[in-house]
Symmetry: C2
C-alpha cells in the first residue's frame, strides 16, 4: 500500500507555538470510498486562525485533537475519483489536511478555475483571505471617497487586499506592517498613502495620528493590541471597525490587558463589529468574480510567500507570528502529475 505523510498536532502550545507541537507522521495513503476523491496536495495554506484550533478552548473553530492530523485549506489535484463530478487531473480546493494526500467527499471540494489566476491563488487572493478582505471591507468598513481607511497587518494576505480595495473605493489608505520591506511594498508598489513599521516605531500613537491628519473613518483590524489602541484614538464620528483577527493576542498565556476604550465609542458613535468569512458563503462567488476582475484590470496586486517542501510547513506557520510573510503564506507540497 502506498504511503503518505501528514503533520499531526503533537501537543498544545503554551504561548508561542514551537516545532515540538508538530509531528511529521508517515501513514498509509487513504483510498476514496463511493462519492469520494483522493487529492494530492499541491499547495497548503497556513493561516493565523489555526493558532486558535491548537488551543483546547471554546472558539468559533473546533479545536484540533492532539494526535490527529491538522486541517488546512489546500489546492490539490484529483488522483483518483469515486465521484461523478471529478476525474483525475482536476484541480480542486477545499478544507483538507496538513498532508501530502487526503481523501475528501466530492461535495466538499470546489473546482479551481485556472482562467481566474494561478491555481495557488485559490487559497489566497482568490480564496478565503481575498473573500475575507472583500466582504469585511464592503459590509462593515463601507469606504467612500474622502474617507481614511486604516488596516493593520497591511502586507498580509488579507490586509494587502483590504488596502487596495479601499483605494478603489476612493479612500485614503494607511496601514501597519512589521518590516521596512513591507512598508516599501505598501507605499511604493500598492500606493498606500502611508504605512507604519510598528516594530521600529517608538511612538505608535503619534505615528498613527500623524499618518491620519483627518482621523480614521474605517479600521480593518487584523491584529489587536497596541496598534488597535492607537487607531481607536483617531476614530472619527460614525466610524466603522471590522474586527477580523487579533494575531497580536493569540499567543498570550495570560488574559492580555489593555486600556479600556469603550468611552471612545460613545464620543465617536463608532461601530465595532466582529465577523467571520464563513458567514459569507452565499456571497463567495460575488467576491471572487470582482477580485478576479480587479486582478485582470491591473488594479489588484498580490504576493505569495511560498515555502518549498511539506517538511517545512511548521516553519511557514510559525513565520506568521514573526511577521515574516509578505502577502499570502503558502507551502508548496507537491507537483502536478497530469
Amino acid at each position: 500500500m502506498a504511503a503518505t505523510r501528514q503533520w499531526q498536532l503533537a501537543s498544545r502550545p503554551v504561548g508561542e507555538p514551537t516545532h515540538d507541537n508538530f509531528e511529521l507522521v508517515t501513514v498509509d495513503r487513504p483510498e476514496p470510498g463511493p462519492g469520494e476523491v483522493l487529492v494530492k496536495t499541491l499547495y497548503q495554506s497556513v493561516d493565523p486562525y489555526m493558532r486558535g484550533r491548537m488551543r483546547d478552548a471554546e472558539s468559533y473553530a473546533e479545536p484540533w485533537d492532539v494526535g490527529d492530523p491538522m486541517k488546512a485549506s489546500v489546492v490539490g489535484e484529483v488522483l483518483e475519483s469515486e465521484a461523478e463530478t471529478f476525474e483525475p487531473g482536476d484541480i480542486v480546493t477545499g478544507d483538507l489536511l496538513w498532508a501530502e494526500h487526503a481523501v475528501a467527499d466530492a461535495d466538499e471540494l470546489q473546482r479551481v478555475d485556472p482562467d481566474l489566476g494561478p491555481i495557488s491563488t485559490a487559497v489566497g487572493v482568490l480564496g478565503m483571505p481575498g473573500v475575507t478582505a472583500y466582504w469585511g471591507l464592503r459590509d462593515i468598513c463601507d469606504p467612500a471617497p474622502g474617507d481614511t481607511v486604516f488596516v493593520s497587518a497591511a502586507a498580509g494576505a488579507v490586509g494587502s487586499v483590504v488596502g487596495q480595495l479601499a483605494q478603489l473605493s476612493g479612500a485614503r489608505v494607511v496601514g501597519t506592517a512589521g518590516s521596512d520591506a513591507k512598508v516599501e511594498w505598501l507605499t511604493e508598489d500598492l500606493g498606500f498613502d502611508a504605512a507604519i513599521n510598528y516594530k521600529t516605531e517608538d511612538d505608535l500613537y503619534g505615528a498613527v495620528a500623524e499618518a491620519c491628519p483627518n482621523g480614521i473613518d474605517a479600521y480593518f483590524d487584523n491584529v489587536g493590541g497596541e496598534i488597535t489602541d492607537a487607531v481607536w484614538m483617531q476614530l472619527n464620528e460614525f466610524s466603522r471597525v471590522a474586527v477580523c483577527g487579533q494575531i497580536a493576542l493569540y499567543n498570550e498565556t495570560e488574559v492580555p490587558m489593555g486600556p479600556r476604550k469603550l468611552t471612545t465609542l460613545i464620543e465617536t458613535r463608532a461601530t465595532v463589529e466582529g465577523f467571520l468569512v464563513s458567514d459569507y458563503q452565499n456571497r463567495w462567488g460575488d467576491a471572487l468574480r470582482r477580485l478576479s476582475q480587479f486582478i485582470q484590470q491591473g488594479d489588484l496586486e498580490y504576493r505569495e510567500n511560498v515555502v518549498e517542501g511539506f517538511e517545512n510547513a511548521p516553519d511557514a506557520f510559525l513565520g506568521l507570528f514573526e511577521g515574516e510573510n509578505i502577502g499570502k503564506q503558502l507551502v508548496k507540497v507537491g507537483e502536478r502529475e497530469h
Copy 2:
C-alpha cells in the same frame, strides 16, 4: 435688582468629584432680551455625563470652564417673556444652568405638556433619559421575543426604562444594580427575570452566566468596567451591544486597564456601537409619544429620587457615583409662582 443663585465650577475634579469642586454664588438675576425668556428652575437634572464636562479634555461634550455656572437640563416656569411663543406661567424644559433662574433663547426651550405626565418627567422618563433608553434599545439592541437582554445600572433613569421596554418586546431581561433595594425593585416591581447586586456579588462572571443560561443577545451598557467584562463573556452569536455610558470609569485618574476582549467579537460576530441621544433629535417626539403611551397603559413604571433644595444639588450629583439613586435623580429647586 433681584438676585439669584447658581452653582459654578470651582475647580476640576481629580478622580471622584467632591464638594470643593462646586461653589454656590449669588448673582444678579438676568433679564431677558428680545426673543428671550426668564425661567425659574423648578426641577434640575443631574446626570452622569456631567462628569465629562467637568474635565478639561476633548469629549463629545464641551468642557465647562472653571468659574462659570454649570449646565443642566431643567424644568422651569416662565416668569418673564420677551418672545411671542411663551408667556409667564408656561412650563418649559431646556438645557439651562445649575441656577435658580436663567435666561434662555425662546427657540431653545420646549413646552412641557402636563397631560403626558408630571412635569418633572420632562427631564426623566419623558426627557433625555427616556429617549436615550428608547432609541438606544430600539435602534441598536433590537430586542425580540426569545432574546435575553442585559442592562447595567438597571435601576437608574435610563436602565429602568431599557429593561421595561425590552420586556415589552418579549425579551427576557436581566440587569445589575448596586443595592438589594434596587434588585428587589427590579425583580419584584418591574418584573425583571433576574437582577444582580454587583456590590455584594463575589463572582460577577459566574453570577452573570448563571442569570443568563441562554447567553446574552443584547447588552445595553451604562457602566463599563468589570460588569461589561462579565457580560461580554456571555454574548451570543450576532449579539448587539449599545454603549451608552461608562460610569464605572469616569472618575479614574489613570487610564483604566482591563482584559482585551475584541476576540470575543470575532467568535460571536457581535456588534458594539456607541451612541448619543443627541443624534436622535428628529425622532425625539416618536419616543416621547410611545413612552407616554406605555406609562398611561401601566406598562412602564418610573421612579424619581428628588433631593430637596438647590443648595443640595452637588450632593444629588455626587450620589450618582455612589449608586444612591433609584430611578431619575432630580433636585427640587423652586415652587411654581403661577
